[in-house]
């Protein structure tokens, strides 16, 4: 039986590949941003899946999990922490990207990446 971590890992990788594929093939700038977003999400899922330990709970110390036995009960907290940070950073990157797209569209009235090739060689 496929474990849930394995499943999420596969899902993450699939998302990652989908996202990168989108970034590589879509001509529309917004779709590229979306592709990045998907890939980013895939990464997050991969991270979470790596840190997941079967049968444990989220690494939040509250009433259900007291600090003393947290080490046995919760999943590894560091990947989760990483994911949180990564999500924030991904969000920021996406925001910056979108603002770029907006600005580019405002300047050139085009969303096709083929129209932004004048710099080369």
């Amino acid at each position: 039986m496929i474990s849930i971590s394995m499943l999420s890992l596969i899902l993450g990788i699939a998302l990652l590949i989908t996202g990168i594929f989108a970034m590589l093939t879509r001509k529309n700038l917004i779709r590229i941003v979306i592709g990045f977003s998907i890939a980013d999400t895939g990464t997050h899922i991969i991270i979470v899946s790596l840190g997941y330990l079967r049968g444990r709970t989220a690494p939040i110390i509250d009433r259900a999990v007291n600090a003393a036995d947290a080490v046995q009960k919760v999943v590894d907290p560091i990947p989760s922490a990483l994911v949180l940070t990564a999500i924030v950073i991904g969000l920021a990157v996406t925001a910056v990207m979108l603002s770029f797209v907006v600005e580019m569209y405002r300047k050139n009235r085009s969303l096709s990446i083929d129209d932004y090739q004048e710099l080369k060689w």
Binding site: L16, I20, M23, L24, T25, L29, I32, F36, A39, D40, T43, I46, I47, L50, G51, I78, P79, L82, T85, A86, I89, A92, V93, V96, M97, F100, V101, E103, M104, K107, N108, I113, D114, Y116, Q117, E118, L119, K120, W121
Partner: protein, 1040 residues
């Protein structure tokens, strides 16, 4: 002691506060902004001071009250401090440069800038991988945002491409971090070890390192970076190219202990490939900023390669190499990007506007020289040591790629420099007065480069002041440049005299003394001709003194490096002198390319050579050194480039012809002798330790063929100076051939000819300079009949060409006699035959020179021309006097030369009174002179008595087939005078060697053009490149 954590804290705090403060006005916020940056810099300088001078221990800062690995820790050691000093300084100065931008833009750009600098500091100091990711992302995001400080279409699209690439890299980094955590259970670099990555763990490491490596823009996965460099505002680009790269490069450096050897080799190779290809692609580039982009990428590749390939080296050397490349790249690249911001010209041809601003031009020159690795700048030392390390570790392919890549870089950089100096700028818009901030920033960096250079020279190599004298002299004269030219000329003359006085006791042997006379005394006499220059004549005497002092330093250099340093100083100064010529763009560039190629060969050759054991001058101690075969070959080729031997002589005619008229004499008469000196040194080493392959036999052939080819080429020139240039080539060919014999008589003749050549070629070049000064043309067929107007110059040329041709009784015959005797004694019979042919051919060009200029028909426009100025005539006649004395008493020269050569060989000639006797024959120059005078007098008197009533007539009173000449132009035979010989030679007269080098140039440009087609301008393609590159590296590394 302020903890460096405050850099982060203060920056963050200021970043948050700025948006509020800015309400109170931009001035306040800018004050805070610069205050924070300055504080950061000051803080880190303080720490550096502690580390360097107070030997403070490495500082580890634990955050959040826990120690690692539970919490994140920061580390500040000597290395970090070193990197941070330069990054923070650059950050500060870039901000100064961007002052006007910051005044106008939104406050967010200030905040972003602070974040950027902060993240760089964090990135360098942090020891935690994930923290590193966070800083990296902050750095990236702030950079992305800052690229839009000018919102043009191109900068936007470049920024978008940058983001696409950066996001892919960050995904990889993140994955890498997580996998590293997965495999090691830790994220702190202090607690991760290389052996934790056995097996599958390597994939994690691969992802991590690869992501960093992608950020370092390896070829070909770096198209996005080039677009950014090209389009984004110069101030920001300087930050991206310098600070970002430095920080990321440092991250890479810190990851190195984790990597297995296979990673290192591949990364190093990738770095070298990047260096090589980006420089090759730069060849075709016309856009200044993109050119700098190529150069930046290349330098990052070089930095990576140097980090990887110097692992085995002693740490001081390693730090010198890496630090040298790092500082060199940082300072020069930032400076150049800032300059591009000041100049605002896309095409490199547009940079000619720099000529209007001397300060900026000098800065530009400093950065270009620094970037291409010339002394005294840091890149030079780094390259020298790097080559040594590479050779010690037998990495010849890397060596080849690095040197070739450097040469490519040098080509485009110096093409840029020469175009800037020589292109006509009148059509272009003038530079709008640059704001003082940007100029200040740039100047500080130029100063920084110099200070670092001085520091290296003082503290690392411990050079004396004499070694730095050439550079210092150039600097001092530059500061005195407001003085009138004549005064500076006299001062220079005095300086050369003083230098000669100083150096005289240091010359231990007669051989040194002999070359000292050629270099110092010859130069001093040649300087007299430059006294004719008018006005301020800026820069000239500085370069001249630099050149002359470096000649002298060659003689007293006691180590390879000292010798090479002086050699490079000589190259720089002579290049700058040639560059002063009116149309010298191509000529000086060619000279630079060939000289540097030669210099690289020398560098290689010296690196192969065993260590010196003696502390006396290299010229003397090399006698006891056994140079390996490869070293002999490489050094010989390097020196032969300078001596203008056939095959690598392309630079020679161009440089001689296009340099200013009075500079050519220095180049021909003295500079070429430096090549001879070098070759002589190699030969000295080979006396006792003959190489296993008869290198010098073939050098002898090359010399002989040089003599012949030079003579033929000279005969087919229309340009007087070009003719003399080929003549120099031919004469030095004799010298090389004679040296290559490695016999007593061979050396006597070589040195005799070298000295003679110095005298007559100086006289000839100065005479032609005088003619050029009056006629303003170098084309011989445009002159003619000047004997009646310029009799003194004519006399010089007459005596000199008799001396060149070797006709008795003048001193030239002595050289010929010695050479042929030496050749026949040595058993090089066919070579002697070829030399004889060359010497017969030399009559062709010599006659052409004197006829086309001085004899024949005087042109209408030259009817009222005056004799050359006295400043030209005086040195000519000093040299003529030398020639005449030497002709009358050849033993004055032969006796000391005999003793010099006797130091190495048994004497093969005996001197009996005034007669020189060899094994084969004898020669009494004094007696020949007397007889010649007598037999000249007899017919002269006869003719005087018997001539009848002789009427002196004018130029058109000739028998012209019962017609009268139409015009002097149609009557003067000078153009293509030896057309029939050319016809007789047929295909042999075609310029094959020139065609060969043209082909090489064309092919390398075409290849560069071919490879740069990978950069299609499409962001998606770039991502594809990145992914494919990662896959390729993965395959190559063989990560399982």
């Amino acid at each position: 002691m302020v903890s460096p954590i405050y850099i982060l804290i203060l920056s963050l705090a200021a970043g948050f506060l700025l948006s509020i403060i800015d309400r109170g006005g931009r001035k306040i916020s800018l004050a805070v902004f610069y205050g924070v940056l300055a504080f950061n810099t000051a803080l880190i300088i303080d720490w550096t001071y502690r580390f360097v001078f107070l030997h403070a221990p490495t500082l580890v800062i634990n955050t959040a009250g826990f120690s690692a690995p539970v919490s994140i820790n920061l580390e500040l050691g000597m290395i970090q401090a070193f990197v941070l000093v330069f990054t923070n300084l650059t950050g500060l100065l870039a901000a100064v440069f961007l002052f006007r931008k910051f005044m106008e833009s939104k406050v967010s750009s200030l905040i972003l800038y602070l974040l950027l600098v902060m993240s760089v500091n964090g990135l360098v100091m942090t020891r935690d991988l994930f923290n590193m990711f966070v800083f990296l992302e902050i750095l990236s995001i702030s950079t992305y945002a800052l690229t839009t400080i000018t919102r043009t279409k191109t900068s936007l699209s470049a920024g978008f491409k940058y983001m696409m690439a950066g996001s892919v890299a960050s995904i990889f980094f993140l994955m890498g971090v997580v996998f590293v955590y997965h495999f090691t259970g830790n994220l702190n670099l202090d607690f991760i070890h290389a052996d934790q990555f056995a097996g599958t763990g390597l994939v994690a490491l691969f992802m991590l390192t690869m992501a960093v490596f992608i950020e370092l823009k390896p070829f070909p996965a770096n198209g996005w970076a080039l677009d950014v460099y090209q389009s984004v505002d110069s101030g920001i680009v300087s930050v991206i190219a310098v600070i970002n790269s430095a920080a990321i490069g440092f991250v890479f450096y810190r990851l190195i202990p984790l990597m297995p050897q296979s990673f290192l080799t591949v990364f190093g190779a990738a770095g070298v490939i990047t260096f090589f290809f980006s420089n090759m692609m730069g060849l075709k580039q016309k856009n200044a900023k993109r050119l700098l982009g190529y150069s930046s990428i290349g330098h990052m590749g070089l930095l990576m390669a140097s980090i990887v390939f110097t692992i085995g080296a002693p740490s001081t050397v390693r730090y010198l190499i890496i630090g040298g490349f790092f500082v060199n790249h940082l300072v020069a690249k930032a400076g150049l990007f800032w300059l591009s911001g000041i100049v605002r010209q896309e095409n490199i041809r547009g940079w000619a506007v720099l000529k209007n601003n001397r300060l900026l031009l000098v800065l530009f020159g400093v950065f270009i020289f620094a970037l291409s690795g010339f002394p005294p700048f840091a890149g030079f030392w780094a390259k020298w040591e790097f080559v040594k390390v590479l050779i010690e570790s037998r990495m010849f392919f890397v060596l080849g790629a690095v040197l070739t890549g450097s040469l490519f870089e040098l080509i485009f950089l110096f093409r840029w420099l020469t175009i800037t100096v020589k292109e006509d700028e009148t059509q272009l818009e003038k530079i709008t007065t640059p704001d003082s901030g940007s100029v200040f920033a740039t100047s500080v960096f130029a100063l920084l480069a110099t200070v670092v250079a001085a520091g290296v020279m003082k503290y690392f190599y411990n050079f004396g002041w004499v070694q730095t004298l050439p550079a210092a002299a150039a600097l001092i004269v530059y500061l005195l440049d407001f003085l009138p030219s004549k005064l500076k000329g006299f001062v220079s003359l005095g300086a050369v005299a003083a230098y000669g006085y100083y150096i005289y006791p240091l010359l231990e042997s007669n051989l040194q003394l002999f070359f000292g006379v050629i270099f110092i005394v010859g130069s001093a006499i040649n300087i007299i001709s430059t006294l004719n220059r008018k006005n301020q004549n800026r820069g000239f005497y500085g370069f001249l003194l630099m050149m002359i002092f470096s000649f002298g330093n060659l003689l007293i250099a006691s180590t390879y490096l000292e010798f090479f340093l002086s050699w490079e100083f000589m190259t720089i100064s002579s290049f700058l002198l040639i560059l002063r010529g009116q149309k010298a763009q191509r000529a000086s560039l060619l000279y630079m390319i060939f000289s540097t190629a030669g210099a690289y060969l020398l560098m290689t050759g010296f690196s192969f050579a065993p260590a010196l054991t003696s502390t006396s001058a290299l010229m003397l101690s090399i006698e006891f050194v056994k140079l390996p075969l490869i070293s002999v070959i490489v050094l010989a080729i390097g020196f032969m480039i300078k001596a203008g031997s056939v095959g690598v002589h392309i630079w020679l005619p161009e440089a001689h012809a296009e340099a200013e008229a009075d500079v050519s004499s220095f180049i021909s008469a003295i500079l070429l002798k430096a090549g001879v000196l070098g070759l002589l040194m190699v030969a000295i080493s080979c006396i006792a330790h003959a190489p296993s392959f008869p290198v010098f036999y073939w050098i002898g052939w090359i010399g002989v063929i040089t003599a012949l080819v030079g003579a033929f080429m000279a005969s087919f020139q229309e340009d007087a100076k070009r003719l003399l240039a080929y003549s120099s080539m031919s004469q030095v060919g004799y010298v090389v051939a004679a040296l290559a014999m490695i016999t007593h008589l061979g050396w006597v003749s070589a040195l005799y000819l070298a000295f003679n050549h110095m005298m007559f070629k100086s006289a000839l070049f100065i005479a032609i300079a005088g003619v050029y000064y009056r006629t303003h043309t170098r084309k011989m067929y445009e002159m003619g009949g000047l004997i009646s107007r310029m009799p003194w110059s004519y006399m010089t040329v007459l005596i000199s060409i008799i001396a060149v041709s070797g006709v008795p009784p003048l001193s030239g015959f002595g050289a010929k006699w010695l050479i042929y005797t030496a050749f026949i004694t040595k058993g090089w019979y066919l070579q002697a035959g070829v030399l004889f042919f060359a010497s017969a051919v030399s009559f062709l060009y010599l006659y052409r020179l004197i006829h086309a200029i001085f004899l024949g028909q005087l042109k209408s426009e030259h009817q009222e021309i005056k004799e050359a100025p006295a400043w030209f005539i005086i040195p000519q006649y000093i040299f003529l006097a030398g020639i005449m004395v030497l002709s009358m008493f050849p033993n004055l020269m032969i006796r000391p030369l005999n003793s010099i050569a006797m130091h190495y060989f048994n004497s093969s000639i005996s001197i009996e009174g005034l007669t020189v006797v060899s094994d084969l024959g004898y020669w009494n120059g004094n007696f020949v002179m007397h007889i010649t005078m007598a037999i000249f007098a007899v017919p002269f008197v006869v003719l005087l008595l018997l001539r009848g009533k002789t009427q002196r007539v004018k130029q058109f009173n000739i028998v012209y087939a019962a017609e009268r000449p139409e015009s002097p132009e149609t009557t003067h035979v000078a153009y293509n005078m030896y057309a029939h010989y050319r016809k007789a030679l047929g295909g042999w007269a075609s310029p094959r060697i020139e065609n060969f080098w043209n082909g090489v140039a064309e092919w390398s440009h075409t290849l560069g053009d071919f490879f740069r087609r990978v950069y299609t301008g499409n962001g998606q393609t770039y991502i594809l490149h990145i992914i494919m590159y990662i896959v390729a590296i993965y395959v190559v590394m063989g990560v399982k």
